[in-house]
Structures are given as structure tokens and as C-alpha cells.
Point group: C2
Chain length 482, copies 2
């Protein structure tokens, strides 16, 4: 019996043959959803409970076999795809789907890692509560993946990243032990913050199997507006005015370049832009705890002030929920419109809000020097200083010629982000995609501190090797272009 | 030259003789402000900059001498007091008082660790912004201490603990290196969350020398109300109703037993209780981003609803800022009133809000079994599930007899907290006070994970030994009663 057969047998003994996948059955788990990375694995296992995850982990540890935890496989940095060596076991958490508890007096819910985000949102809503995490892949991403990557999305301005929405965790360690840190407490100063160490560590320190999440009251009314802006400077000034005027009711502040929205209405003619085109647009969302009428009235007061101050060129306030959805749909269609236009070079960056206008001006110019005629499809969560700063080929350039410049573009964009005290990964994580970039922008000291933590919590290097930090020499997944 | 003289000379060379204190000059730094702990040290040093902190740390590391970082020396768990061995050097951060930057567009400020909290609040206010951390010792505690202990306070319900208010840190490592993690970003997913690991670690992993903090818009109006409640159950129900009705405008929800407030007005006759006495009271604060009139109107609507639902027995809404301050003053006077009544046995606990009424009922009864006639002075931040669950002697019992039962009381209270899935230190930290208690309530796995992190980041065990985790055999500070 080879070592691999003996491992597969041991895994089968623990969780049943139906949940130890190889060959064709395993294939969907070995490529990320954008088909950018493809790896190989001894098996893909689908444990059905925390205890089974622990048993699988202990078994892999015994065999000295590395593991790759995987949630909904919707990540954007290749963190859930194994490398090409075929040594690893992929542990899919998708069967851990229980909502263990909803506590409306404590405003918390405890859910397993494999729960689809949308189902968690819905379960909260059924209990008359809001779970505010909201992002494009919410129909298929899992809470475990959201936690592992500290996902962001459109409500961070008000409710924070996934990190801020988690009060407690349950984690399986590389030895196959279970840490029960499922606390539903808003204050707990009893030692080191293990929770936040696992959150955002992309499966490289342990496997998150469940979490206790914060809930909020459902807003009474949600109001949406689209405004036209002359410049990013005006967008930043409008954000400050909105934060002061709406306080914590301001739950969304998205910015979109005119080029982005023109592309949307060109690609999807059934959508229309309710305002004349403009260099920039912002989408504002206010969640009111009082009434629809009050929310609208506040919107009118603040936005009229902004019009009078000549900060805003034009405003449309959604008259009803359907109109509000249509405005959000414009925003959400940018990624698809962009893909329809051809492959593009993407960045998920953040800079301090006070530097964002200068960042865009400077970097746009640098990119025009690099690739004259390249089109910026810039949009994102201005309220968080987070832009999806994407580039599409010049109309006169072929796609292969454009994509051949990808690493040059990364370099210009990320160097500029760094010069503006920003982050090269605001909400998508590092995975394999930006692992080597990290070495360029983090100080050697910070890399050394991270390495010490990795070695302390995963001394055998079994947890998702080669992600976030440079691994022990195994090959990466095969990259097949963007 | 003894090893100690050589160390003191080296420290003097680095930061000047004026800032290397021994003998009487050092004494104030060797006892905590409640005079509960007294330790000894080779010297107390007062570096004036991050670079000097690093130089001092490198020097101590070279000499193999442990260090005890200290901020305003207002901690409640003895974390800033050295042990009795006299081996350590106390590093006071009080001279690091610079406010390095205020960025109103980014809503952040960067301050040094030694800044007094009140000065930071004021600097923010001068820039038309709110830094919301607020706690009893704000006139003398430092931001570095707040970060090291992850301080809580009265605004956590809306703005979070100190942890949630820090975006970035600067830290001196045990080797005397400087980690520049001073990022002003709301989204940054580039590797392990070192920031949150240092926050709350009570100086046992490194020395926080500066931080980039979040700012918020100043509210337009702050309204305050005191309500009389029949029971803790009603208080919890009112909290839920208030969260739904006020949304994020609810910035304070404090609960106080009738006994606590009766003690205040008895001890401080110049204060008066504007409502007839009642088993429980709650103090509500709403911060409105619209107007004084709107805030009051909302208050009236929500509290009238609560009166009609028979959740609330009586209400007084402050008519102006002075009346609001007087209501807060009642709340803030409880600790002093309690001290005036004699020494008492204190606990800083949290439980899930849904369990808090049951916790109080159960634990009150257990304590009556233990010490019949003991008086509960229970108050705290109900919105965070955090109670200062304190006990005063029965009127018929002497103080020494009562204090002799201290460890029995701790045991009953903390066992009950644990049984209710709570925390034995909600906002004060572990320090030396609860270090051994921790071993009783944390799982061996969690203790082992914490130990591994300690060993990874402070392999020589030089950082604040004997705090949070059991140290390497040095003695504790001398305990001189409560």
C-alpha cells in the first residue's frame, strides 16, 4: 500500500467514501472560479462537522500531508487552490452548513463555516435582524471564506469588514485540535486576540469551522441616490459632508468613473443612466431607523446643501425600492461590463481617503505614459478608501499585447499605492496572487514577525503552504491568465 | 562595575541622566494608583521618542534585563507594576506626547503612546471631530495604556473598544526594532493582523509607541435620559427596543441598580436622584446628527412607546446639557460612593446580553448564600453586556472579615460568569490580578496557543514577565489589599 492509498483509506475511514473525492469528482475544487489557477491534490475531502474536520486534519498531520481549506471557492487571490505538486488534500467546508443559534437579545448568530453568505443574511432577516456583510459573490461564497480572507464589500463604511462582524470563532488547529472561541461578547480582555489572528490568515494558521457573528437592527428604510461629480476631489468632499450630515446612517458611498458607467449602459442596453454623463458618479445609501419619509427628507437636505456648495452637479434620489435597486445594479454591473469588453488588469487597492484624488491623478498619468490610450475603469468603496482600480486595453491594442504588460502595470500601480501609504490588497487578500508582491512592500521586520507567527502556530508548515508567505519550495498552481 | 551599574550607565548614555530614575524619584512608578501592587526595579526610564524607546529596549535586551512598559499608571489589573524581584526596568512612555498628525479628510489622527486620553479627545474636537473613547481615568490614562489593555468605557456600544478605534500601530519589538504599522486604512488585507495581536497584550509582546486612530464626525446634539426599571429583564428589553428605534444614534446604555444610586445620593448629598427609587435604572444617550429638537423628539417617541409597553416605569429626559451632565455624574459617582462606604470586592465581567438577567439573579443568590446581607453594587455598560459587579460588606460585618472572603467571592462570581459563557475581564485586562484565574477558565489549548505566540514574539521572555501568562518564576508584586 503506497502512502497515498493509506492516507485515502484513513480519510475514508473517518468521513466515508462519498466524501473523499478524486479524479473528475475532485476537479471542480482544483480550479478557482475565475479559472485563473489550477492545482492538483491527493484528494478533496468534504467533512460534515467540526469533529470530522478535526479528524481529517489529525489524519493529514499524521501523514505529514499539507491541506488547503476551501469555502465557496470564490476567492480572487488563489488562496483556496492547491499548488501543482499534487501533495495536498483540499478540505472543503461546504458541508458545514448549520446555523447553530440565533440570539436576538444578544444580537448574535453562530453559524458554521460552510454557510453561504446569502443564507446567513436571510436567516438574520427572518429573525428581524441585519447581518450586514454584502458582496458580489454572496450567493455562493461562504462565511468561512469571508472570515479567512476578511472580506469587505459595500457596507464596510458603517459596519466594518468581516473582522469587525465576528465576535468569536471555532478553529481546528494543524494538530487536529478544536479551539472553542465561540464567544458572543462585545468586551472580553482575557489574553491575546487569537480571533483576529485567524481572521484574514487565509487558512495558513488553522481552519475556521464556525463563528459567532454580530447582528444589527434592520433599518426601517433604505434610501439611495446617484450624484454626478466633476472630480474625485469633489467626491471626497461630498463624503466628508455626508458623514457629518448622515452620521452612522450613511451605509454606502460608492464611487464610479463616468467611463465605467458608460461601459455598463453600452454593454447592457436594458440599463440606463438616469443622469447626463459626468467624469465621476457616487452612489449613496442611507439606512434610516425612523421612516422612509425621514430618510428622504435627510437626503434632500444634505444633497441640496451639496448642490448649493457646487460640490455636486446633479442628483437623482430613488423614489422607491425598485429605483434604488436599479441604481445599485448599475454599480454592480461594472465588473461584468468590463469583462464583456475583454480581459483587463485588476487592482484591489486602498489609500487614505485624503490621498485618493492625488493617487488617481498621479497613477492615471503614469499608466498613460506606460500604455497610451489604456482605459481606467475605476470604481469602488470610496467610504473605505478602497478602489477597484482596473485597466482595460486601448481600443487600438490587441488583448495579448495588452496582457503582456500586466506585470509592468502591477508595478506602476502598486508602487504608486505604496508611495501613497496604501495597501496592495484592500479586501481580496494575498493568496498566491500577491504573495511575491508582498515582499516588495512590507518591511523585512513585518515579514519576519509574520513568519514567526506562522512557525509558532503551524510548525510543520501543513496549513495552506505557499499562500500569503513564501512556502517550503513547493510549486505554485498553474496560472492560466486573468 | 556591577552589571546593574553598567546597565544604568548604558541607559544614561542613551537618554540622559535626567530620564533614568532610581530611588525616591522612581517610587511613584512602582506602585499602581490604587496602591494595590508595589514592585521594585533597577530603574525607571523615560525615553522621549520612539527611537529612544528602541534604544532603551535594545540596551535591556543586550543586558538580558526584563522591561515593564507603563503609560499613565491607571490600570486596574497591575499590568504596569514590576514584580518584587527588582530585576526589571520600567519604561514609562509618558514623554511620548506628540500628536503627530490629524487628517480630517481621512478621519484619522496619529498620536504617540504617552498622550493623555483627554488631550487626544480635545485635539480631535479642535479639528471638529470626535475621538469617542471615554472612560473614568481619561484625565490621566494614556493612549498607549488604552491600547495595551484594549480599554472599553461608555461609548463601546456605538464605537467599539480601543481595538476598533485603532487602524495602525507603531511598536518597538523586544529586540529594539521599530515596526512601522501606522496605517490609516479601513481596508488592508495584506497578511496577519499584527495590530490586533499587540492591542490588548498588556506590554507582553512589544511596546506600542504610537497609533493611528479613527475619528468620527461630532454629533450635532447629544440627548440623555434616565429611566426607572422594574427588573434587569426589562432593561434588556429596553435595550433591544432602543437599538431598533435609535439605530446607531444610541451611543450609551448604562445600567445601575437602585442600591448603587441610593448610595450615591446618600454619600454625595449635593447630588439628587430626579426619579423615585426603583430596583434598576438605565441611562440612555443618543447622539443626533441632525438637531437637538430631532434628538429629543426621537427620545420621546421611543421612550413613550416603552412606557406604554410597561417596560419603563418612569422617565426623565435632560432638558439641556447641564441636566445631561448631572445624570452622567450620578453614574460616574458610583465608584467613589462605593469606596466611601468602605473597601469592596470588584469584578469586571461580561456575559451575552441575553443571559445577563439570569446571571444577575443566579449570582446574587449565590452570594447571599456565601455572605448573607452582602450588598450588590451592580452597574455597568449593559449595551456591551459588561457589568461592574461589585460587592460591599453587610452592614453588620467588619471590613477585615468581609475582605477575608475575597477569594471565595471571586470564585463564586467567576464560576458563574463562566457558566454563563462570559468573560472574567471585560475591559480591564488580566495583568497580575487575574493571571492565575485565567488558567481556571481558559482551555489548555487556548493557553498553549497564547504561550506559543508569546514565545514566538518574545523568545527571551523580557516583555513584562509574569503578566497575562505565568512567567519564568519571578515573584509577583507585593499585594497590599484592595
Amino acid at each position: 500500500m503506497t502512502s497515498s492509498t493509506s492516507l485515502l483509506q484513513a480519510l475514508t475511514d473517518r468521513i466515508g467514501a462519498d466524501h473523499v473525492l478524486t479524479g473528475d469528482a475532485a476537479a471542480p475544487y482544483l480550479t478557482d472560479w475565475r479559472q485563473r489557477y489550477t492545482g492538483a491534490a491527493q484528494a478533496v475531502v468534504r467533512p460534515g462537522s467540526t469533529q470530522e474536520v478535526a479528524a481529517v486534519m489529525a489524519c493529514c498531520a499524521q501523514h505529514g500531508v499539507p491541506v488547503v481549506p476551501q469555502g465557496g471557492n470564490t476567492g480572487l487571490a488563489g488562496a483556496a487552490t492547491p499548488d501543482a505538486s499534487g501533495k495536498a488534500v483540499v478540505i472543503s467546508l461546504q458541508r458545514l452548513q448549520q446555523i447553530r443559534a440565533i440570539d436576538t437579545d444578544n444580537d448574535t448568530m453562530t453559524v458554521e463555516a460552510g454557510c453561504i453568505l446569502q443564507n446567513v443574511q436571510q436567516a438574520a432577516r427572518n429573525a428581524d435582524r441585519l447581518f450586514p456583510l454584502s458582496l458580489a459573490s454572496e450567493g455562493s461564497c461562504t462565511v468561512g471564506g469571508n472570515l479567512a480572507t476578511n472580506a469587505g464589500g459595500t457596507q464596510v463604511l458603517r459596519y466594518g469588514n468581516t473582522r469587525e462582524l465576528a465576535l468569536g470563532l471555532e478553529v481546528v488547529t494543524p494538530d487536529g485540535e478544536i479551539w472553542d472561541g465561540l464567544r458572543g461578547l462585545r468586551k472580553d480582555n482575557t489574553g491575546y486576540d487569537l480571533r483576529d489572528l485567524y481572521i484574514g490568515s487565509e487558512g495558513t494558521l488553522g481552519i475556521i469551522t464556525a463563528a459567532t457573528l454580530r447582528l444589527y437592527p434592520l433599518p426601517v428604510a433604505v434610501c439611495t441616490a446617484l450624484v454626478a461629480l466633476r472630480s474625485m476631489d469633489d467626491a471626497v468632499a461630498l463624503l466628508a459632508r455626508s458623514r457629518a450630515g448622515f452620521g452612522a446612517s450613511l451605509t454606502g458611498f460608492e464611487v464610479m468613473s463616468g467611463v465605467s458607467l458608460e461601459l455598463v449602459v453600452r454593454m447592457f442596453p436594458q440599463q440606463s443612466l438616469p443622469l447626463p454623463t459626468s467624469p465621476w458618479f457616487a452612489l449613496l445609501e442611507v439606512s434610516d431607523s425612523e421612516s422612509e419619509a425621514h430618510g428622504r427628507e435627510r437626503f434632500e437636505t444634505v444633497l441640496e446643501g451639496a448642490l448649493e456648495a457646487d460640490l455636486v452637479q446633479d442628483v437623482v434620489i430613488a423614489a422607491n425600492i425598485a429605483q434604488g435597486r436599479a441604481l445599485w445594479h448599475l454599480r454592480e454591473s461594472i465588473s461584468l461590463a468590463q469583462s464583456a469588453e475583454g480581459k483587463n488588469i485588476k487592482h484591489d487597492i486602498s489609500v487614505p481617503i485624503s490621498k485618493i484624488a492625488q493617487y488617481v491623478r498621479t497613477t492615471d498619468a503614469l499608466l498613460q505614459d506606460l500604455i497610451p490610450g489604456a482605459r481606467n475603469i475605476t470604481f469602488g468603496h470610496l467610504g473605505d478608501g478602497n478602489l477597484h482600480y482596473n485597466l482595460t486595453r486601448p481600443e487600438t491594442m490587441t488583448e495579448p499585447d495588452f496582457l503582456a504588460r500586466q506585470y509592468d502595470v502591477y508595478r506602476v500601480v502598486h508602487d504608486s499605492v505604496h508611495a501613497h501609504q496604501g495597501s496592495i490588497s484592500a479586501e481580496h487578500g494575498i493568496g498566491q496572487l500577491k504573495r511575491d508582491e508582498l515582499l516588495r512592500y512590507k518591511s523585512p521586520l513585518e515579514m519576519a514577525l509574520m513568519r514567526r507567527i506562522k512557525d509558532a502556530l503551524d510548525p510543520k508548515g501543513l496549513m495552506n503552504p505557499g499562500k500569503v508567505l513564501v512556502g517550503t519550495g513547493d510549486g505554485d498552481s498553474a496560472v492560466t491568465g486573468d
